[in-house]
Amino acid sequence: MNPLRSFAPRMALAIAAVVLVTSILGAGWGWLRARDALRQQLDLVLAAEAEGLLRDYETYGLRGLAEAAEIYARRRGPLHVLLQTLDGRAVAGSLPSPPGALRGYTTLPATEAAAPLRALGAILPGGVNLIVASDLTSVDRAAYALAWAPPIAGGLAALLALGLGFLLARGLERRLAGVSTAAQAVMAGDLTRRLPESGRGDEFDRLAATINAMLARIETLVAEVRQVTDDIAHDLRSPLSRLRQRLEAALARAREPEADAAALEETLAELDQVLATFAALLRIARAEAGTGREGFSTIDLSTLVAEVADVYAPAAEEAGRPIATEIAPGQQVTGSAPLLRQALANLLDNALSHGAGPIRVALRPGGILEVSDQGPGIPPEEREKVMRRFYRLDRSRGTPGTGLGLSLAAAVARLHGGRLVLRDGPDGRGLAAVLELPYAAA
């Protein structure tokens, strides 16, 4: 891994650089402030020294002052005292770089022989000039020492930041590698694989949890698709093999126009059934994929239900199974009229071919559409299964139908953001199929 292509070291490096630059700027500013403060301190010291010497002068006169200056000179300390005439002739004491007559403070620059000096001069009666001076080297050294503290601390901080950054990068790299490995496993076909979670509940865990939820959804979808493929293979294979056998048998037989025509007609009828199954499957697939939502519009559900019930009414009456309607007026939903029409028609087809007794179609306020009959119903444990593709109750195997009607009605309900519920009919008899559609206000 190139460390600069990783986020954390780059961040660490940036932070280290910022810390370093600010601490260097801070050092410059600190040095200036420390030097000024120390020099002011020094000026006070010089003033105090000068005052002491002036007191000597007042007490012992010029001789006493000269002796005191000589003592300072012998001491060779950081303090220098010089007594000179106003034209610069030394009387007593010494100064490495005498400046000539001086009154007040000055700074004497460094010379080849001497360090820079801070000096205070006073003119005494009798034309004598007293100069007290102190070496600036120690002051400057102290200022340097003070100023260097922040950059040293800054440098250390920068180093620490760098180290921490690399550690962090290693940790990140390890977690990302876990995610990457898991993702590759999923890509390779292991759909049960999930991203590792550290259990710390941090941002990475939350992201991993979201992605894991997505992977779970994908796994379910793929499982459903597999199931459907198996169902299709199974449910289309039988009619197709029957077709094949029929054609084979007809071909092997001696040519008889009437028998041939009958065989061909049966074949066509069976083929039409297969095609109807195909069409229903494609519709379910499209509804489940969510296509068709772009064609949604506001639909007067009350009118739609009444119309479909009218279409079925005569056929139901002929079958001795009258349809009673109970339709709340002005019910509107947002959706696809053709699909809702088909969903209701499927429920009515089911009630007519699998149910018994009178049929009731009720549209209640809130987009609740119920089709119920008083037949044998569906046992509670089978209710989920009958909504699956091709699932048929054993007793229904002989009746016509694709076994897809309820699947399509359920898919249409889901497409509309609702659901299909199967429950006991009124009075606990028969079956009530309820389409619950999200309601779009009257």
Partner: protein, 227 residues
């Protein structure tokens, strides 16, 4: 009657051409969108049957080009199975009818005939009549001779559609689509029951039958043969 078939699948095109020729139609076949559009723009046809998916300009593009050039020839569009929800798109582009593949030839034939006899756009009639059967569209009253026939709203719609296409075979699928807006075939035999009820009401006074069942195809409404 002259029919143009635009279809790139050779077997289907030949089958349709043969079928319609036997019906006595003059059939032209184009195997791609370019030839189809050229023929449709330059020759007079009574009906055009075009596949939706075509090499060159596709069915929709041909349709739009025709309508843009002011050619109002009825167009029936064929489409692959399961594209029912794209029907609207085709109808909006100016198709007069829509049929999903695979289809029964009888179904296509009935629809082509219905399109061919479609009267040129004229003022909406206020009355439809076949033989002694009259429908007043304004008062919504149906009479057979002097007898008034009482119909339910759904029966009225069925009869209106049949009266608009007299002497033509109307398949169950066509009735489901055009009368009730059902774009699917219900398991329950709803059409036959409606038709037989309507038939009973029309013949309640002992009149001659007008709605004939065409075996394997559908129904036809026509004036009873003079006795």
């Amino acid at each position: 009657m002259r029919l143009l078939i635009i279809e790139d699948d050779a077997a289907t095109a030949d089958y349709l051409a043969k079928g319609f020729s036997e019906e006595g139609l003059v059939v032209d076949v184009a195997r791609n969108g370019k030839d189809g559009l050229f023929l449709a723009l330059n020759e007079p046809f009574d009906v055009i049957v075009t596949d939706r998916m075509l090499p060159g300009p596709d069915g929709l593009a041909i349709l739009r080009a025709l309508r843009a050039s002011g050619i109002a020839t009825p167009v029936l569009m064929l489409t692959a199975l399961g594209e029912v929800d794209r029907k609207v798109e085709g109808l909006e582009a100016g198709a007069d009818d829509y049929l999903a593949k695979p289809f029964a030839f009888a179904e296509l034939r009935a629809r082509v005939r219905a399109l061919a006899r479609r009267p040129a756009a004229q003022a909406e009639p206020t009355e439809l009549a076949v033989g002694d059967l009259r429908m007043d569209l304004l008062r919504r009253v149906v009479t057979r001779g002097a007898r008034e026939v009482e119909l339910l709203p759904t029966e009225f719609r069925l009869l209106e559609y049949m009266l608009r296409h007299p002497g033509q075979v109307l398949t169950r699928t066509m009735l489901l689509e055009k009368v009730w807006d059902f774009s699917f075939d219900p398991t329950t035999n709803v059409v036959d029951v409606h038709v037989s009820r309507l038939r009973r009401k029309l013949e309640a006074g002992g009149e001659a039958p007008m709605i004939r069942t065409v075996r394997g195809a559908g129904y036809m409404l026509s004036a009873p043969a003079p006795a």
